[in-house]
């Protein structure tokens, strides 16, 4: 295939588009469909669409022929920040930037050392301070937090706090001590067997019953705890995969050196196992990032809910919900696609090291 491509564009087409009669027919059908679809979709999405901060009446004039991107211009603050106090929204924006930067930094191999833990502690504390206030900033109670920063917080705090728990559960599942193994297996399998929504229901409805009378905990915090406990089970399985991939000889060599269990794990096994489990962990993070949108069902103002509410509550924009949802879809997609590309690249990168 490669040499055909090198020969000429025509040769490339003959090999890749018209190799057999069936293939040629398929190509023609697809081209015809595209020729019909692309101008139509392009017209609605781009050329005939209403761009810029125009009023809803401008959209009503071209309804059906062009998309109403004006809804994004008019509602962008509410979509990104929800009910966060208007004057303080720069803080939520900075928090979102800090959290996104945290993801980028974690993706760079240069930072894959102990200092990454410090960076995460600082990043999480900074985001928390920006959102919550105090120490010179006006305090904002958690029930006013909203929008993209809440989605990022739920996902990033979620994976950050679930990580140590997940590692412990993975070690527990491979422990020689039967009680520890049984407790870990039970936890992992139960959590993985139920949908996230039931765990969120538990957090939003049952949690009040579990706690001493009179103790009230923020809805957001309860959802966050639920998400952490939920992810931990999935992380544990990813880490277990890594632990299983570390050759037995490594364990035996560490034992022969007289290292204790925790030293064996901390210095010999986990550094190798965690490296192997990074691609699956990134994949878990992608699904967590998507699944945080389920908090919509228990009424937390994450990005998806803010977008939904921004159009639902305004009668003149209500009919342009598709454009609003498409905007949020694009934002989610950019985050998830970037991460999934990264995970695929990482897998190839690791495979290259192994192949030598």
């Amino acid at each position: 295939m490669r040499d055909a491509r090198a020969v000429s564009p025509l040769g490339w087409m003959r090999v890749n588009l018209f190799s057999t009669p069936l293939n040629s027919a398929l190509t023609l059908v697809i081209l015809a469909a595209l020729a019909w679809l692309v101008p139509k979709a392009g017209g609605w999405l781009v050329w005939d669409a209403v761009w810029g901060p125009k009023p809803a009446s401008a959209c009503d004039a071209v309804r059906g022929e062009g998309a109403c991107w004006a809804v994004v211009w008019n509602k962008i603050r509410f979509m990104l920040f929800g009910v966060y106090p208007f004057e303080e929204q720069w803080r939520a924006a900075v928090a979102a930037v800090v959290l996104t930067a945290l993801l980028v930094v974690s993706a760079l191999r240069f930072f894959w050392r102990k200092r990454l833990i410090a960076i995460w502690v600082v990043g999480i504390a900074l985001a928390f301070w920006l959102m919550g206030g105090g120490l010179g900033l006006t305090p904002v109670p958690a029930e006013r937090w909203g929008g993209l920063s809440v989605t990022l917080i739920l996902a990033i705090f979620g994976i950050g706090f679930a990580f140590p728990l997940g590692v412990l559960l993975a070690l527990g599942r491979r422990s020689r001590l039967p009680v520890i193994r049984a407790v870990s297996v039970l936890y992992i399998e139960i959590v993985r067997g139920v949908p996230l929504i039931t765990v969120l229901f538990m957090a939003s409805i049952m949690f009040a019953l579990f706690m001493p009378e009179g103790l009230r905990i923020e809805q957001l915090l309860r959802a966050q705890v639920a998400i952490i406990l939920f992810i931990a089970a999935y992380l544990a399985e990813a880490v277990r995969g890594g632990l299983q991939a570390v050759p037995r000889g490594q364990y035996e060599a560490a034992e022969a050196l007289g290292l204790s269990y925790w030293r064996t794990m901390g210095f010999i096994v986990l550094p190798q196992a965690l490296k192997i489990s990074i691609p699956p962990i990134v994949n878990i993070f992608i699904s967590v990032f998507k699944d945080t949108s389920l908090v919509v069902i228990i009424g937390i103002y994450d990005f998806a809910y803010a977008v939904k509410k921004s159009v639902e509550t305004d009668i003149s924009w209500k009919k342009y919900f598709i454009e609003a949802f498409l905007f949020s879809i694009v934002v989610y997609w950019i985050y998830c696609f970037a991460m999934s590309r990264y995970s695929q690249w990482l897998e190839r990168e690791f495979a290259r090291g192994e192949r030598r």
Partner: protein, 381 residues
């Protein structure tokens, strides 16, 4: 280390863990009991027998508001299983087509399948469901302006309504005959295989199977009166009556679940096909197997071995994801349990029942898949 013996330390750690877990459980339990007592909520499943008092829009079994909560939950469970089973079938077909298309040597087709996969799997399912639901309920015309395809299909905001055969024992008989035909085909295939293994003789397959699966139902239908009456929907009052209807909630959920999961299944199928070594196909060619035999006897059995475990988890994901129905108002198990909780305050019982049901479904699917996996496993010396 304070305690030198490893065994003693092991016992100590386990004892500490047990005490910690027990302590947490005891703490939560005592809080809960106290809270329940002070709110005057009765613990237990007695509420299941009480009258539910709410209507359910979609049901596969008889139900009305005077039935018990237990009955309502059963309706919800059946709705969940209904959408999950259909979703699994559609997602498998669509996903397999996409996975194969992604490996096609037609560049355009491969790129389109790839774009579909990369687009769908990187968007939250909840948003996809909301968009589908919004499109079905807001963008479609009202009942009076319904899109008509002849007298047979009517598409409006109220759902997709289409003509359907009138109820008649003949159709029931045909359905039973179909089930019997499928069972007979399996038996026929098993016997044929055994014969071939013992004697080498090949029994005919195509004709007998067609007879069992198509012929038997047709005969049963003809013998029991050959009903042909078709009920077409008619506009009466505010909505169409008669025929069959697919509600916008069900349509959005089914479409959302299956198109989303198909993207993941496509990747599973692709990986499975790629995992079969080229040499296998070449060896099959050298043996003179036809392309059909190559696929059926060499490639597929080996690819399935790789495909089945991740496919199982996709099926489980789809089933668990069907719980998002609650966001668009389809009365699945979660939605009905939610209503039950709100009405009775029996949150603990309702949520533990929910979890138990999903856990049992998960366990059932994994047990079945493990059994199947063991059957197709590579037998090594």
């Amino acid at each position: 280390m304070l305690i030198k013996s490893e065994r003693a330390r092991g016992v100590l750690y386990q004892a500490l863990l047990l005490i910690a877990v027990g302590g947490i459980v005891w703490y939560l339990l005592s809080n809960t009991l106290h809270n329940l007592a002070s709110r005057g909520i009765q613990v237990g499943f007695a509420f299941l027998g009480r009258e539910a008092g709410f209507e359910i829009a979609e049901k596969l079994i008889e139900y009305d508001a005077t039935r018990s909560y237990a009955h309502a939950l059963a309706v919800g469970l059946l709705n969940t299983l209904h959408v999950a089973l259909l979703g699994i079938v559609i997602a498998t077909v669509l996903g397999t087509l996409l996975g194969v298309a992604r490996l096609s040597n037609n560049w355009l087709l491969a790129r389109i399948a790839g774009a579909y996969v990369e687009f769908m799997r990187n968007i939250p399912l909840l948003l996809q469901l909301l968009v589908w639901y919004g499109m079905f309920t807001e963008l479609l015309p009202g009942v009076r302006q319904a899109i008509k395809l002849g007298d047979w299909v009517f598409i409006s905001q109220r759902g997709f309504r289409f003509a359907w055969p009138e109820a008649h024992p003949g159709w029931t008989a045909a359905l039973w005959a179909l089930a019997a035909g499928l069972a007979l085909s399996l038996v026929w295939r098993a016997i044929a295989r055994r014969r071939q293994a013992a004697t080498g003789a090949q029994w005919p397959m195509a004709l007998p199977l067609a007879g069992f699966i198509i012929g038997l139902p047709v005969v049963a239908w003809a013998l029991s009166g050959a009903p042909t009456a078709i009920e077409t929907p008619v506009l009466r009052g505010f909505d169409y009556q008669g025929g069959k209807v697919i509600s916008p909630e069900f349509a959005a959920l089914l479409l959302g679940l299956s198109t989303y999961t198909a993207a993941f299944i496509a990747e599973v199928v692709r990986a499975g096909i790629l995992a079969v070594h080229r040499g296998q196909t070449e060896a099959a060619m050298a043996l003179g197997l036809s392309p059909n035999q190559r696929l059926r006897l060499v490639t597929l059995p080996q690819a399935l071995r790789v495909i089945i475990p991740p496919m199982t988890s996709q099926y489980l994901n789809l089933t668990k994801n069907s719980s998002l129905a609650v966001a668009i108002g389809y009365p699945d198990l979660v939605a009905i349990a939610n209503t039950t909780m709100n009405q009775t305050g029996q949150a603990i019982e309702a949520i533990s029942m929910l979890m138990a049901v999903y856990l049992s479904i998960s366990i059932a699917i994994s047990v079945f898949m493990n059994w199947y996996n063991a059957r197709v496993r590579l037998v090594e010396r």
